[in-house]
């Protein structure tokens, strides 16, 4: 049975994650190639200093008392699901941007997210979800000569 005294708080968990990251970072820093000619400061100095600093700071964070810094939002349930699905939608958007094209992918993103967050006024949703990306697309490609992926659309 674990007693409360030894339970790891948020600071301690984060400190451990940061320490592991710092060790990995230092390992990478020690593999940075040195410049053939001698220089007062080579490319590896800053990363090494940063790695050691982060390792030291993680140790300090581990010893820091856990204050109640969390805001008062619910920690479980639908809000977290919304965040997770939003993150997934962004990743999908990045993946589908080229094959689907800017307008289609953006319209699906806006419509999907708005519905996920509870918006149900379909006409307004359709107008904004299609109109906004189309407006951006035309403004960027026609006025500013910026190439955005057309994808499945013929223009």
């Amino acid at each position: 049975m674990t007693s409360n005294r030894f339970r790891l708080g948020a600071n301690q968990v984060l400190a451990l994650v940061l320490a592991v990251f710092a060790v990995w970072y230092l390992n990478e820093a020690f593999q940075i190639r040195r410049f053939p000619l001698p220089r007062p400061v080579d490319s590896d100095l800053f990363p090494k200093v940063l790695g050691w600093l982060l390792l030291g700071l993680s140790a300090l964070l581990f010893l820091t008392k856990n204050a109640d810094t969390r805001p008062s939002e619910p920690a479980t349930g639908r809000p977290w699901l919304e965040v997770l699905l939003t993150a997934l939608a962004i990743a999908l958007y990045a993946w589908a941007l080229r094959p689907l094209g800017f307008v289609l992918a953006s319209a699906l993103l806006v419509a999907g997210l708005a519905v996920l967050y509870g918006y149900r006024q379909w006409w307004i949703l359709a107008t904004v979800a299609i109109g906004l990306p189309l407006l951006f697309y035309l403004a960027l490609t026609r006025l500013m000569a910026i190439n955005l992926p057309a994808g499945l659309l013929p223009f």
């Binding site: 190639r33 007062p40 982060l54 810094t69 969390r70 962004i90 990045a94 708005a114 906004l132």
Partner: protein, 495 residues
């Protein structure tokens, strides 16, 4: 040229029809974005940067400056009407602004905030105009050692003034510098932390990080707080102030404007510290201190004048030294670098159009802000009633477009998501984000100046301690980190 002639030159730039449009657009967009609870000036600036691509630097900075002070003002509207400050800089406004709104005097509170912001903003521009050229003359003498020390001071000051633990602020700063050194080291051509990814050779664009840890993470936090549903706003009521009320706010506004400007100039301080100091100064001076927190006019006027004045003050180190003193000005510096302008002491000589154009545009912007926020406030306040669900979806799309437009790389969109999640974790665990963004901007510059200083000194590390300015700045930096620790130790000993 004296200051007056320079200002006239600035007005020639700022009054060009397109620049007037940019000032108005910046102030308007800033006000609207700043009004949305959770989205502050940094998010507003980061969201607007892609629009400045390809613009003349003077026009771009005019737009961005408008966004900055517009967002500060927009934040106060949501503080007053919703008791939900968009940014830390307007928290103090809600102490008395929201009680006024609940007493049916939301209109008066908004009017006081608009007048106080206008006066605070205008006084700070006058000071900026007088102080900046003088400081830039001093800064011409700065060498790499001094710049390195100044950047260290800027970073430690921001860390020490973060409202959470010092250790967390330092970790945020270290992470920021770590992100800044990804890519090819320009001095040696060595790749650092690129993992063979061609997308990382040029480094991680600061806009990806800024939009991720600020705008996207803020959307995530809003979702967690159930922010997709708009809270009820208070009715606005009359905007008219009587003579007594104007007399009451005159003193606090003038005092807090001057205080706010000088706080804004200090590295690390800024709108938040200025508004809290302005508020507490007025509370201490007031004969009716017991009514503070219950809807006192001075409690709205003082922080509003102070935070807008601080906004002007924060331009001093940015424009004269090229070193931002806060997260917000760090994003502005990033935007300027994207436009090909390096702010610093030479900017006054090399790009007087940018320098004086921005200063003149601030006078005009403050007038626009007043026009927007007095007669149009009932209309603007309706933005708070817009369906949040749709608005959040659109903000996410803006973030994606902003990031994609930098390099047209889908890889950056994945990075954006990664930084959004990093920002969320940091926010939920009380890590300040300003040190991260400031370190991201300053990291590469710090390394460059450190190396230059050491090259000049032939590798002698004492160069940072033998130059008086550098030594003083580093001593101040050490003091800024040690002061909170010592202060806490003294307080514990007293108990």
């Amino acid at each position: 040229m004296d200051a007056f002639a320079n200002l006239l030159f600035g007005f020639q730039i700022a009054l060009q029809p397109m620049n007037l449009v940019y000032v108005f657009a910046g102030v308007f967009a800033g006000t609207v974005i700043g009004m949305l609870p959770g989205l502050g000036p940094i998010s507003a600036l980061a969201l607007m940067i892609p629009i400045t691509f390809g613009m003349e630097p003077a026009s771009g900075l005019i737009l961005m400056a408008g966004v900055y002070y517009g967002a500060i003002f927009g934040g106060s509207t949501s503080s007053i009407l919703l008791n939900a400050p968009g940014v830390a800089g307007t928290v103090a406004t809600s102490f008395d602004g929201y009680p006024m709104a609940r007493q049916g005097k939301a209109g008066k509170a908004l009017a006081i905030a608009a007048y106080a912001s206008f006066i605070g903003g205008t006084i700070s521009v006058v000071f900026l105009m007088l102080v900046a050229p003088a400081l830039s003359k001093v800064a011409v003498a700065f060498g790499p050692a001094e710049y390195f020390a100044l950047m260290v001071l800027g970073l430690t000051a921001v860390v020490s003034l973060s409202d959470t633990a010092l250790v967390k602020g330092l970790i945020a700063a270290v992470l920021g510098v770590m992100i800044s050194i990804v890519g090819i080291d320009l001095q040696t051509g060595t790749q650092r932390f690129t993992f063979g990814q061609p997308h990382l050779l040029q480094g991680i664009d600061f806009l990806v990080v800024a939009l991720g840890v600020f705008a996207l993470a803020e959307v995530f936090v809003l979702l967690l707080r159930g922010g997709a549903k708009a809270p009820p706003t208070q009715a606005i009521g009359s905007l008219k102030l009587d003579r007594g009320e104007i007399r009451q706010m005159a003193g606090p506004v003038s005092r807090s404007s001057v205080l706010g400007f000088f706080i804004g100039v200090l590295p690390g301080a800024g709108a938040t510290v200025a508004s809290f100091l302005g508020y507490s100064m007025e509370k201490r001076l007031a004969k009716d201190a017991s009514t503070f927190g219950k809807g006192n006019i001075k409690g709205v006027a003082a922080p509003e004048a102070a935070n807008n004045a601080a906004c002007g003050g924060s331009f001093v180190p940015l424009l004269t030294l090229g070193v931002p003193g806060s997260g917000t000005t760090a994003v502005l510096l990033g935007a300027l670098l994207v436009m090909g302008v390096t702010p610093g002491p030479m900017m006054l000589q090399q790009r007087p159009d940018v320098f004086w154009g921005v200063i003149a545009s601030m006078y005009i912007g403050n007038i626009f802000l007043l026009i927007l926020n007095l007669p149009l406030i009932p209309l603007l306040a309706r933005i708070l009633e817009l369906p949040r669900a749709l608005l959040l979806a659109c903000i996410i799309l803006f973030c994606m477009i902003g990031v994609y437009a930098v390099k047209f790389s889908a890889f950056d969109l994945y990075l954006l998501l990664g930084f959004g999640l990093l920002g969320l974790v940091m926010r939920l665990n009380g890590f300040p984000l300003a040190p991260l963004i400031l370190a991201l901007i300053l990291g590469a510059l710090m390394e460059e100046n450190m190396r230059r200083a050491l090259q000049i000194s032939g590798g002698d590390w004492t160069v940072f301690l033998t130059k008086p300015i550098s030594l003083s700045l580093l001593a101040l930096a050490a003091f800024s980190l040690l002061a909170p620790v010592l202060w806490r130790a003294v307080q514990l000993a007293r108990r």
